[in-house]
Amino acid sequence: MSIGRSELWIRRALLGAVGALDLAAIIATQTVVGRIDPLALPTWYRILLVGCYIVPAVVAVIAQFVGDRAVRALTITAFVASVVPVSVLAVVLVADPGRMGQLPWMVSASTSAAATAAIAWGARTAWIATGALTALIWTLSALVGDLIPNRVANDTQVLIISIAIIALSGALIRSGRAIDEATVSALAAAERRAAAQARQAAAERARAIVHDDVLAALLLAARGIPQLDRLVSEQAAIAAERVRTLAEPERSADVRLVDLADRLREVARAESPAVAFSTRVVRGAVGAVPAAAAIALVAAARQALANSARHAPGSQTSLILFGMRDGVRVVAADDGPGFDIASIGSDRLGVTGTILGRVRAVADCEADIRTGPGAGTSVTLAWRDPQQPGGAAEELEAVTAPTPVRALSSDMRTALLIGILAELALAVYSATVVAYPLVPIAGILAIGASLAAMGWRPLRVPSTGRALWAAAFAVVACVLIAVGDPTEYRLVIGWYANAGAFVMVVLAMRGRPFIALGGVAVGIGLAAAASAAQGVSAVDIVSVLARPAIIGVGAVVVVLGLAALGRRAARIRAEEVEAARADAWRGAERAELLERVGRLDALIGHTLDRLASGEPLSAEERQECVLLEGALRDLYRGARLSREPLIGATRRARSRGVDVVLFDDAPGEPIGDAELDEIAVWMSDFLDGVPSGGFTGRILPSHRPGRASAASEDAATLFRG
């Protein structure tokens, strides 16, 4: 199963972080961390050791350029490379027992096994792998007489860091997966919505052409006024051309962006001097907009401002023209009371009829209204250049995505709990072996105070004050490393500083990375200075304080990097959604238009061609024009009444000279086909009895005494079902 883009990004970033930390560990262990009594090991093993720990760094680099399957394989490779040294060491020690000394630091200093296991298989496998490795290392340490306090303390610190890494990796991967799943849902929803809107837009375009040109030609042809024959012929030719080119992109002169801005400025000024008009044009923005699009945008903007004036009097209203590389957007917004758009019935066409309908009726144009009770109203009108790839959303649409750091709730709690317990165990142990037991006790209190200052609610970002207090206590914990007997400096492997850095990692994860970074810098700096003042050697200071420094700084870099990653993932998602939406729009619009062209051409094409020929019409042909004009009108205004046998009855009635009008005045109300058929039968029976004059058939709005009404000049009746 392939993984999504966001998850892939996060896996790559995590591998990058693992590689960087591993490299830092190699450099530290090979340069500053010395062994008092190193275990004698063959040279090939030492080469293997360094080689294996270089693998995650190499993997991290390669992973940035390959696909998801290769990233998976590389992650497993890095994991295998991380466990090979300790496994081979076990074989070496079992095959050749009796060796005594300290295990190489590298064997236990790396957290890459935990991290790569978490990335490759998830937290559970990572826990098992980490536990097994720690147990194996301690067993080997016991075998070679290295199970000394330093070893235990060191490995415990590594364990705590591993726990944090597993928690972080798992949560981030889940977060990436959630973003991808949300993207898939958003893509599907955007495609569905765009397709529906495109079909509606296509219907609007077809309707506009029918109303503008076709009905005019048919109506006048039916009237049979000889003086108008030439004009009717011309009008029919225009109508036929418009119907047949309906599915083709509209060709019209362009309006320069600057002229569009002038028109919009004029509209804003005409509406009210209080309307704030502004333009925001990016470099490389489109230079012009098709005239049809410009007209629709300006008219819809005028309507939007008029609506604001009507429904949100006294509100702050703005009109902004965005010029972008792939099109233009016009946003009319007010901070008025807004309204619940879902509560507006489909019969209330104020919003859809004028603003949305008018804009969507033009090729490559879209409109969207965002509002809510008490939330103001924002109308976005857009023309997208079909020659440019989609991307306008990037600049205007805020796409919310799960923030990785915020997704850490349960994992942070677990990691923190285990970390605290481990540190506590370490502190209690050190209190039993050091000369001044009060120092580790003070360290426990300082770490506890730091955590308490932060608060035990992982989803909440601590206030600045709380974060500063937490950092201050962590600094105290770090500085305690320099208090006590200098000869015991390396005895506890600086657990105070590590614990302080660990607490600062939590602070960084909870949304205070810079205060955490400050805490680590000040804590390590003061601890180093105090240690130097105590006469501790530089090598010891570096070897003890390097780890907390790497932990603190590394964690902050990771947190900041991942926050940027989250934003990038959200942007990628917006781009994907926008592209899918644009494709779906164009596909659906064209399909709908082609279908409508086919239907209209079949229905009226022949008649329009006949009219366009300019040849005199026979009485029958004029009669056919009457019938066609009526049928088209019924199709739009009569909607669900345009069905047999009523279609036949209206033809017969119009042939008798009856002026038939059909209204579907309950457009949003579902009525079953069976009932509609009954209404059609009932109405056609009535209509067949109307000899002349007028007839009005109507589906009634809801909550009326009947479902439909039929009225002629002599009688009227209701259909009650």
Partner: protein, 207 residues
Amino acid sequence: MVDDHAVIAMAVRGLVESEPALAFVGHAETVSELFRKVGPADLVILDLRLRDGSEAVRNVERIRAWGAQVVVLTSGEDPYLIREVSRADVLGIVRKSAPPATILGAIAAAARGDSIATAEWAAALDTDPDIGSAPLTAREREVLALYASGLGAKQVASRLGLSENTIDDHLRRIRAVYHAIHRPANTKVELYQRGVEDGFLPGPTAG
């Protein structure tokens, strides 16, 4: 006449000129062109949907400001557009496909300053969700619904046992109320005035 289809304008011209009491002043494709090209007129017959993208409501307002009354011609399109224009100060809305005698009768009535009630107009108002909150009496709602069903003034009067004059009064009040419920109220004072005019609030009393 303002219509971007010359053939429609010519047809209407023929109708108008067939009535001795009326004179056809001129034809323009847009309202702006009307002001430039055509001389003063008592009545403008306006196409509901012009291809220049202008709004019917704004067109009506401009023509009213110019000093002429307005009758709107419609192909019978969606009721929202008819509602929109009904909120402006128009004398009536007439379907282009109505029998020529009906169109001419409507134009002649409008030229006399009379308002015209048609089924298209009544159906559009009758389905406006806002009409539910308008201060119309039950009788007025009944008149509107009957008109929307296609009955004429005579039929409605006979069905309700009222005189045609009373029906005309009801129609005038329906028109006025509908016009009033969509007027903007920019200040609290205006809002109060609208409320008093529309009957939502009691008027100020002496003392």
